[in-house]
């Protein structure tokens, strides 16, 4: 019941916003977002024990498409609980953060925001693959509007590219899911799209080749959404053009749908495929870490820089996931949250600057530490969180991802054989250095240095007069919870790590065998090749 309420609260808010007068829209949205947060916290309190292995609540939902067994079943485990909590927090922050930034078509804006929240929550809470797809896919519509109506100058192409790119990828995922379901229906005799059903069938009954293609089909969608390096090009554009709150939610929640999908559906569904492809994806992830970081280094636009840094961070996240051991996967899961918090924080801060100075160009800003000390402190804080300073949240995720990658080898100490190993980690660790390089370049350019503020000819207009020079109490108020979460996770990640542990181990349960099998096959193939050559050469 709580979950249904959580799902419907934003929708009801959206409806209320549509009916109420425009000037009350933001207040209704705030109340709605806070209500959703309250319900989510309630759910977290009701959550039986954070270390429960089964989903909660353990009850069947109504079937909505009987002949195909599509069920409206909601449920949470440790990981999705965390995702839900992060999403509701970010929505509150984004809504309040938009008070002054959005002045046109306010009703639509907040209504779409609420719809977006509901979709994201649905995707995180869904236990049915089609339901997950529903939430996953419908986020495109509100996000499309958020970018295309309230975005920057190039908003329309950005929104269209965002929409088509991710849509194309996700229909491929749908094919993958339906394929597995159809094979299962053939085998079992009745259709079901429940994720556990699909997983228990696919991971055991599909052949290696089928698993390979299934995994690939699923990962195409998740890789685009995440996004992985060569298929990332929609992201900088979308981030750059989206309104601040849109960027926050894009980074914090929408990208996480990709990684969450990879964790919830991709990995457990096709262990043989995952094991076979883990090296491939790890290489791509590392490529992303380094290439995106280098691209960040030469960005002039602060927001694009942060957007590319997302790509780099997501590479690290995926590297951890493809380590295929509890350390790396835990790391990547906690990275979900970290990235949402720190990148979200950075986007909000950049948005504040943009509201005041109407520029995101590094060359036009400088020495803001003098005029905006509070803002600068937050900026440095979130930058440090983003570069993974120990004691802040970023570190935990980053270090665990790398850690997992290092021990992900055959005969690993971790007891979970993997396909990567130290060499992957050694190359990925360059990302640590590059991360500091570009983030500090940004901080050096806009926070430090000689004070420099752009000339704005139409100052004294709507924005200039209403906003204080430094952050307003409202703005401080939205940054504080984010900062507090960063600090809390950085210093005491234990509850989160523990709560996610059962889900992680459930997701990985088939992997050790799968990896062993793939490794054995490879060595056999090598041996066969060697013997073939041996017979030929003499």
């Amino acid at each position: 019941m709580t979950l249904w309420a959580l799902l419907l609260a934003p929708l009801a808010t959206a409806a209320a916003i549509c009916l109420a007068p425009a000037r009350t829209a933001k207040w209704i949205a705030t109340v709605g977002a806070c209500t959703a947060t309250a319900i989510a916290v309630l759910a977290a309190l009701q959550f039986p024990h954070w270390t429960s292995e089964t989903f909660w609540p353990d009850e069947r939902g109504p079937e909505i498409f009987e002949s195909l067994g599509v069920t409206f079943e909601l449920g949470l485990d440790g990981v999705s609980m965390l995702m839900v909590l992060m999403t509701v927090l970010l929505v509150v922050v984004s809504v309040i953060g938009s008070f002054t930034a959005v002045t046109t078509r306010e009703r639509e804006y907040y209504a779409w925001f609420m719809v977006l929240e509901s979709c994201v929550l649905l995707a995180f809470m869904a236990r049915d693959a089609v339901l997950f797809y529903l939430g996953y896919e419908f986020t495109l519509i509100p996000m499309y509007f958020l970018i295309a109506i309230w975005g920057g100058p190039d908003r329309r192409p950005a929104a269209i590219k965002f929409f088509i790119f991710t849509f194309l990828a996700s229909v491929v995922m749908l094919v993958g899911i339906v394929y597995v379901a159809s094979r299962r229906a053939e085998h079992v005799g009745s259709w079901s799209f429940l994720i556990p059903d699909l997983i228990s069938y696919a991971s055991t009954q599909l052949t290696a080749q089928e698993q390979f293609w299934t995994f690939l089909a699923l990962m195409i969608a998740f890789a685009v959404k995440t996004p992985f390096f060569p298929v990332h090009s929609w992201l900088p554009l979308a981030h750059d053009q989206a309104p601040t709150a849109g960027s926050v939610i894009l980074a914090g929640a929408l990208l996480k749908l990709g990684t969450y999908g990879a964790f919830r559906i991709g990995l457990p569904m096709a262990p043989l495929g995952g094991a076979e492809l883990s090296q491939f994806f790890a290489v791509i992830a590392i490529l992303g870490i380094i290439a995106a970081a280098m691209i960040c280094w030469v960005q002039k636009d602060v927001k694009k820089l942060v957007a590319y840094s997302s790509v780099s961070h997501m590479g690290m996240l995926m590297l951890g996931m493809f380590a295929l051991n509890p350390i790396g996967v835990q790391g990547s899961l906690i990275y979900f949250v970290n990235h949402g918090l720190s990148t979200g924080g950075l986007f909000l801060l950049i948005g504040m600057i943009y509201e005041r100075h109407h520029t995101k160009d590094m060359d036009q800003l400088g020495g803001l530490a003098r005029t905006m000390p509070v803002w600068s402190s937050f900026m440095i804080f979130f930058t440090l969180s983003s570069v993974g300073l120990p004691g802040l949240n970023g570190f935990i995720g980053e270090v665990l991802c790398l850690w997992g990658c290092f021990t992900s080898e055959h005969d690993a100490v971790s007891g979970y054989p993997g396909m990567l190993g130290p060499w992957f980690g050694i190359i990925a660790i360059v990302g640590l250095i590059l991360g500091a390089l570009y983030m500090l370049r940004m901080v050096g350019a806009i926070v430090w240095g000689t004070p420099k503020e752009p000339h704005h000819p139409h100052d004294g207009g709507d924005h200039g007069t209403r906003l204080p020079r430094d952050m307003s109490p409202r703005e401080i108020g939205i940054m504080l919870p984010l900062a507090a979460c960063c600090l809390l996770i950085g210093l005491y990640p234990k509850p989160i790590l523990e709560s996610m542990d059962p889900a992680v181990r459930a997701a990985l349960v088939r992997y050790p065998d799968a990896v062993e099998k793939v490794l054995a096959e490879r060595s056999e193939a090598e041996a066969a090749e060697a013997s073939a050559q041996g017979t030929v050469t003499p």
């Binding site: 498409f65 419908f138 329309r156 929409f163 094919v175 339906v178 229906a185 009745s190």
Partner: protein
């Protein structure tokens, strides 16, 4: 097997209602009293509603089972759907036929002239055409089938020609009629081949001959392929789709909306019936289609959706774009037919037809509800910033387009999901991937329907736009749009209705059995 003639006739009550309605309507249309003429659309709707009730009442399984039909229960869902969507199509047509004439009559500018009014005939033709489409589903032999197809087709030619005074409508009618005649010839030739191969006009007898191997298979294959291709004209499938963009663009929007649904449904019903008759049915174990025919169907499906979408990308005219969209959706629906009834493919196609029909009503109704100086709009430029003055129409356009994209949780998505499931179940992975990629390509141009009205600022071209005098097109759009959003809630019963029709044998009435038959 056979039954008394009178009892069989009961099965045809819905069509009789429509035909009677058509006669009444055509007479009413000639009345000199404006009020009577104004009732014409309502009488049409009443006929359709009566027909809908009749379908539900008379199409009982035991009756259908004894009517020698290859797909006995197809008639229930198909005829119900035709009647229901037909009501929406009539609503969209409201106020568009004879409008200048009626205005002149009302203002007394011209004396009433029964030779010039078209309203009665137009509505009668709609009813005739729908009646023909309905008859297709209860036809038990090739003669019936042919006559029903012609009953459905011939009125549409006239509807196109008379839908508006524009030259374009007449050009559309030329193209539609001549190419239609050609395709009819091909269809006839195909029927001849089928008859030649099996020696019977009775569909069940054909089925028996085909499955028992008594038929001359080479001639049968030729016949099947000819029938498939000829029906491609009705369902706008490659390579017989070329007329569609021109005709859709040329005809008035109300007629275009009619063309995008009724002939297409007719074609699909005939295709299902004929294919079921040649062995592509769940009760023929195993269901079989001559491999060449299967491959042709596969290719036609793949090409249809691809060419449809590719064409849609380049359009500036809304109706033309919708024509291409309609072509591509035919391609999607053919996937279900390729998958075959034993994997629930026919069910999926029927269900998709429902989703497509409802969604199409929303889009066409929304466009029909806006006009510029009395003539309909047809350019994307007209849509920019529409939401300011026409919020409902733009909302319905957006919802309709999103549903056509296949955006969950709107109705279109569930249809597509069903098609995916059927196609993959039947093992047509490549075809389904082509479908998936195509639905992504289609996003491109549908997104303009979503984006332009809502996102773009109002341009200079939006200034002169006004609502059409009749609010009923918008009503149809809103009802259909709400249906698109809300029908997924009762997805179960809709799919069940479609599933009852699909299985060709009454015994396998449960959908599961058809799907999971090993």
């Amino acid at each position: 097997m056979s039954m008394p003639f009178a009892e069989r006739l009961v099965l045809l009550v819905p069509e009789m209602v429509l035909l009677a309605g058509a006669i009444v309507v055509s007479v009413m249309g000639l009345s000199s009293r404006g009020i009577v003429r104004a009732i014409v659309p309502w009488a049409t709707i009443a006929a359709l509603a009566g027909s809908l009730v009749a379908v539900v009442m008379v199409h009982r399984p035991e009756l259908a089972a004894s009517a020698d039909l290859p797909i006995p229960m197809l008639g229930l869902f198909a005829r119900g759907l035709l009647a229901a969507i037909g009501i929406g199509l009539v609503l969209i047509t409201m106020g568009s036929v004879d409008r200048p004439l009626e205005r002149a009559f009302a203002k007394g500018l011209a004396p009433f002239d029964p030779m010039r009014v078209l309203g009665g005939e137009f509505h009668a033709f709609m009813l005739f055409s729908i009646a023909g489409a309905m008859l297709v589903t209860v036809a038990s032999d090739l003669v019936w089938l042919f006559l029903a197809i012609e009953l459905s087709s011939l009125p549409t030619y006239i509807m196109v020609a008379t839908s508006r005074g524009s030259r374009l409508a007449q050009e559309a009618a030329v193209k539609y009629f001549f190419l239609g005649a050609m395709s009819t010839a091909i269809l006839l030739y195909g029927f001849a081949m089928l008859y030649g191969a099996t020696g019977s006009m009775e569909l069940l007898a054909i089925e028996e001959a085909m499955t028992s191997g008594a038929a001359e298979s080479s001639i049968a294959v030729l016949g099947i392929i000819l029938v498939i291709l000829a029906l491609g004209f009705k369902i706008t499938a490659v390579p017989m789709h070329f007329y569609a963009p021109d005709v859709y663009e040329g005809a008035a929007i109300s007629t275009t909306s009619f063309l995008s649904f009724v002939p297409k449904a007719t074609g699909l019903f005939v295709l299902m019936t004929v294919l079921a008759a040649v062995g592509w049915s769940a009760d023929a174990a195993p269901a079989s289609l001559p491999p060449e025919a299967g491959k042709v169907l596969w290719m036609v499906a793949a090409l249809t959706m691809t060419l449809g979408n590719l064409g849609g990308l380049l359009q500036r005219s809304i109706k033309r774009m919708l024509a291409y969209s309609s072509i591509s959706h035919s391609g999607y629906m053919l996937v279900g037919i390729v998958a075959g009834p034993q994997f629930g493919g026919f069910d999926a196609t029927l269900f998709y037809l429902l989703t497509y029909g409802v969604t199409n009503l929303a889009v066409f109704g929304a466009i029909a509800s806006i006009e510029r100086q009395g003539s309909e709009i047809d350019s994307f430029d007209d849509l920019a910033g529409l939401r300011v003055r026409h919020p409902w129409a733009s909302a319905m356009l957006a919802i309709g387009a999103a549903s056509l994209i296949g955006m969950p949780p709107l109705l279109g998505f569930w249809g597509k999901l069903d098609l995916f499931a059927a196609g993959l179940d039947a093992g047509h992975v490549v075809l389904v991937v082509i479908l998936a990629v195509n639905s992504a390509i289609s996003v491109w141009y549908y997104l303009r329907l979503i984006g332009l009205p809502i996102i773009a600022p109002a341009g200079p071209r939006t200034e002169g736009l006004e609502s059409s005098p009749s609010r009923f097109p918008l009503l149809a759009a809103v009802v259909a749009g709400l249906g698109t959003v809300l029908l997924p809630i009762m997805l179960g019963s809709l799919v069940d209705a479609a599933s009852v029709a699909g299985p060709t044998a009454i015994e396998d009435a449960s959908p599961q059995a058809a799907v999971t038959a090993p």
